[in-house]
């Protein structure tokens, strides 16, 4: 079976869900979520049966890559979507409150159909090796996200976030198209393979201009400084499952595209130095700003937003190290880092959603005395924060560790210094969360926080994954 059947399956699933949604009475909308989850899970199982290069002859292969890297990122997209759908089911009460129609009941069905379509975009992006398909798939996800961010139409914050994301997203899209057109102009090619062969003989100025524009647009997607301004506001305003999806799915896909698009530039000797210098500069700025700005945050969602920015800095550093030899190539490091990031970030968001459901607050204060109100939830927070900070034996530690190895190999000493300082700052602000959970006392009369079976199983899976990856990285590295 060729791999692109997977995308077709997911698109069909999304369309069917949309149609079914339109014809389903409001009280049964929850089932849409379960159906979407089942469909995504089935696709994931299908993915396991796909082998690289089935040998089928098709014009598709000019645009479509099915190497193990692509399949890996498809898996990541599917897993992420599945987790987000579970989070969405958990988030339903909040969603119902804010998404009421003018005359009728809540409109929650599309909240489960749209992630499926976004997932199709992410999966397609994982395989796109032509600048046209890269752009198309990027748009498919981005447009889905525009809607998702603004989904809670009775919530001013959500609407504001939607508008901001839409305007700035459109701006970055425009710049991306402009950059891609310069790339096309400089090389006369749209396929990445052809671009790689044509780029060394292209003029230096246009090539670098194209590089800068593409990098800017991708920096917007992966939340790198100085194109990160939307991140804290949009993360805070958007429905929490969407925020989780944005910070994990969107970032993962953005990095894969970055790996693919940057690679031809870095391979050209005359462009290499400049490109790496720019990448390192952006990485350093991202590390500094992301970590410093995270320190004073009192809102958990905003804290995670800045955390997302600082992790982007680490990932960019891995990309800039441009390492191709040995066990730990840049690509594999990024893949591992993103997997680790997926586990720990979704874990943090899952805890947040559960707490928000009970307390109605996203502030750090809502975490006070959590270990008494629900010890398991407290433990989950502990693991998430420890891994995000990079405590040994968690996935987050190994991710950072690998980045340091790569950066040391590339002799980026200044960047390493900044990254170490950033990681140290990270310990401070993530442990602030732990302090709220374990040291602060709960407010008077605070009730225990219930955890539904769905949420509990999700938490257990994510905790286990975070810890297992922390001691057995081969699990991911072996896949690539």
């Amino acid at each position: 079976m060729p791999a692109y059947y997977l995308e077709i399956a997911v698109v069909v699933l999304g369309l069917v869900l949309l149609l079914v949604e339109a014809f389903t009475p409001p009280q049964h909308k929850r089932r849409i979520g379960w159906a979407a989850l089942a469909g995504i899970a089935a696709t994931f199982l299908l993915l396991l049966t796909v082998k690289s290069h089935c040998g089928c002859d098709s014009p598709m292969w000019q645009f479509y890559d099915d190497s193990s890297l692509s399949l890996f990122f498809k898996g990541l997209a599917l897993l992420c979507t599945a987790f987000v759908l579970m989070l969405g089911l958990e988030y339903l009460p909040v969603l119902e409150k804010y998404s009421a129609r003018a005359g009728g009941g809540p409109a929650t069905g599309e909240f489960f159909a749209l992630p499926v379509l976004i997932c199709a975009g992410l999966m397609w992006m994982a395989s796109a090796i032509d600048i046209t398909t890269i752009f198309l798939s990027l748009e498919l996800t981005t447009i889905g996200f525009y809607i998702m961010v603004a989904y809670m139409r009775r919530n001013v914050g959500s609407l504001e976030a939607g508008v901001k994301y839409l305007i700035l997203g459109a701006l970055s899209t425009g710049i991306l198209v402009y950059g891609l057109s310069w790339l096309f102009g400089a090389t006369g090619q749209t396929g990445l393979d052809a671009i790689r062969t044509a780029l060394p003989s292209a003029a230096r100025g246009p090539a670098l201009f194209a590089f800068a524009l593409i990098l800017i647009a991708l920096c917007f997607k992966i939340a790198a400084v100085p194109f990160h301004f939307w991140v804290p506001d949009v993360y805070q305003g958007a429905p929490t499952p969407v925020t989780a999806f944005l910070s994990v799915g969107s970032k993962a896909a953005g990095f894969l595209v970055a790996i693919r698009l940057m690679e031809p530039f870095l391979a050209v000797e005359s462009l290499r130095t400049t490109c790496i210098a720019i990448l390192v500069a952006v990485a350093c700025a991202t590390l500094i700003l992301g970590n410093l700005a995270a320190i004073p945050q009192g809102n958990f969602k905003r804290l995670l937003a800045y955390s997302s920015i600082s992790h982007a800095g680490f990932l960019l550093l891995a990309l800039a190290s441009d390492r191709h030899t040995g066990e730990l190539t840049s690509t594999r490091i990024i893949a591992f880092y993103l997997s680790a990031y997926l586990c720990m970030t979704l874990l943090a968001f899952a805890v947040l959603i559960i707490i928000n459901k009970s307390t109605g607050s996203d502030e750090l204060k809502a975490f006070d005395g959590l270990h008494r109100r629900n010890p398991f939830l407290g433990f989950a927070t502990l693991i998430a924060a420890a891994s995000l900070a990079g405590v040994p034996l968690t996935a987050g530690f190994l991710g950072k560790f690998f980045v340091f190895i790569a950066a040391a190999g590339a002799q980026q000493w200044l960047a390493i210094g900044i990254a170490v300082a950033g990681a140290a700052a990270g310990f401070y602000y993530y442990f602030k969360v732990i302090r709220h959970v374990y040291w602060n006392t709960a407010p008077e009369g605070a009730a225990a926080i219930p955890v539904s079976p769905v949420a509990k199983s999700l938490l257990i899976i994510l905790i286990a994954a975070t810890l297992v990856l922390g001691v057995y990285p081969q699990l991911i590295l072996g896949l690539l």
């Binding site: 698109v11 949309l18 149609l19 339109a22 014009p59």
Partner: protein
């Protein structure tokens, strides 16, 4: 090579020139009289205007307009397809199926819009 782009340049010059000349000519040729609040009101010696100059449209108008634009744009994709259809269908039957699936997606979108009441003007 650059000469191929000459028509584009001419187009750009024409466009900017036309717009600029309109603005400039209206200033140069137009007669400016005394300015006052009363002179600037829509009806200098008629009824006083009530309400805003631009009345609000129903959101339904935008909805229908947007749907129109969307479907319209999507039909545009069929033109290049139709141009090469006769030549290529012999060797590439996939052409037919891909456009059919494209139309299918449009159909789903249409059904969805219909069911959601986007085209229902009265409600």
């Amino acid at each position: 090579m650059l000469s191929e782009y000459l028509p584009v340049l001419i187009q750009m010059i024409t466009a900017t020139g036309l717009a600029a000349s309109m603005l400039i000519l209206s200033v140069v040729l137009g007669k400016s009289g005394n300015q006052s609040d009363i002179k600037n009101s829509p009806y200098e010696c008629g009824m006083l205007p009530i309400g805003e100059g631009q009345p609000r449209f129903s959101v339904k108008f935008y909805m229908v307009a947007m749907l129109f634009v969307l479907f319209d744009i999507e039909v545009v994709f069929m033109y290049p397809w139709a141009v090469v259809f006769r030549d290529m269908i012999v060797t590439h039957t996939i052409m037919f199926w891909s456009m059919l699936s494209f139309a299918g997606i449009l159909l789903v979108a249409y059904l969805y819009a219909l069911k959601k009441g986007a085209l229902n003007w009265k409600e």
